[in-house]
Symmetry: C2
Subunit: 250 residues, 2 copies
């Protein structure tokens, strides 16, 4: 009798798992636009570290972190390609900046919520986890890209990224209109070229209520460009913009 009961229980568990799987398949289809071939990849993409901890037997945590690493790279390549072709007359400083505005954590976290991915994530269930792992959504989105890439190949993942993520959810015109962050363009440039870079505030003009600052971009200990503004930040941005112009990074 106990054996029969166990069998019945097993049967119901199996059928519940099946039901869960088919719900997941449907959600994945809605999000990615195509049906998964290997569902396990997508399950892994949704597995947050907090839920994966302790599951492993050989020290290898089966969480979405490896897929996130892969998806981050695929996402970067696809968006690089997309922007490269969309803006044939723009320099690499512009392209890099626009890409980073699309793939930054905040933007990906928001996107994960919008497309309904956030609620599919499996985590430890503690409320705390939602707060301490703020980038859970963006991480899972990158991992999903990794899963689609492994499951269906590069072309398919490109289609998913452009048709399902970029086109419907990003207003490129609006992203571009927002002032470019020239300081970060300069910082990236300096890292790439192994230059020492520093921003100095070299002058403060006017009275307390109407102060103007002058900032200077210093490259390898040599003054390179300067700019002014009504806050230190704005002065630095102006100086950085001038430097970008001189270096033709703009």
């Amino acid at each position: 009798m106990a054996r029969l009961f166990a069998l019945v229980k097993k049967f119901f568990k199996k059928s519940a798992d099946k039901e869960k799987d088919s719900q997941l398949v449907e959600s994945i289809e809605q999000i990615t636009g195509s049906s998964p071939k290997n569902l396990n990849l997508y399950k892994l993409a949704l597995m947050h570290t907090s839920a994966a901890r302790g599951v492993s037997t050989d020290g290898f945590r089966e969480s979405n972190e490896r897929l996130e690493y892969l998806g981050d790279a695929i996402l970067g390549a696809v968006i690089a390609d997309y922007l490269f072709k969309k803006f044939p007359y723009k320099g690499e400083g512009f392209l890099t900046e626009i890409r980073s505005r699309i793939v930054n954590r905040e933007s990906l976290n928001n996107l994960a919520k919008k497309i309904g991915l956030q609620k599919l994530i499996i985590h430890d269930g503690h409320r705390r986890t939602m707060y301490t792992h703020k980038s859970m959504g963006g991480d899972a989105l990158e991992a999903l890209v990794g899963a689609v890439y492994l499951d269906r190949g590069f072309k398919h993942s490109r289609k998913f990224i452009i048709k399902r993520l970029i086109t419907p959810h990003f207003d490129l015109e609006k992203i571009i209109e927002t002032n470019l962050n020239f300081k970060s363009i300069m910082i990236e440039w300096a890292q790439r070229e192994s230059k020492q870079l520093r921003f100095d505030i070299v002058e403060e003009r006017g009275d307390t209520h109407n102060k103007e600052f002058v900032a200077r971009v210093v490259i390898d200990n040599e003054a390179f460009a300067s700019g002014s503004g009504y806050s230190k930040k704005k002065a630095e941005q102006a100086a950085a913009e001038k430097a970008c112009e001189l270096l033709k990074l703009k």
Copy 2:
């Protein structure tokens, strides 16, 4: 007569250009393993900024910088995929570190020399340029990857990267044996997770000739892990390694 002379000159110039082009095609074939469809892409990949300056008429510099931006992303994605599959039991910290050891500037510059790309680069001819643009080779290599990608697609560029660049020129075992840079793994992690990270030297033991240092990893102003060593750098590495273990980034 003058007209005939101009025609003859034009003919010889054309035939010299043709000869040059067929030499370039051969070199590209030797390097990438396949013949270019659109040679102009490869010419652009070899065009250093110093040679491109002043060529443009509309403010758009026709140099290899845009292709470099694209190729950098494609290279990153292909190597991410390659390492992901090659090391199925390694965490993302390991994969990220190994990838950065392969695609760092120095490594790509060396590779550009090894495969004979360096000497194909078109620059302004000044000797100074060779010294002031140390990463010219690596930049051109990335641009070449971008050209192959645009010319022949993702699969082809993957084949080029793995069969022609990684497999013959990188000894993965050796790269892995070199101690992992745990400090940089920690820095990347902190950026990703938006944590404040600091390394403090909290103790110096022993006399001048045999000094031991104790370093502490501080995350969001809280002591997280510590380690010791016979130089500040080694102590920081030891502390970072400990922190990586605790965070399961190792």
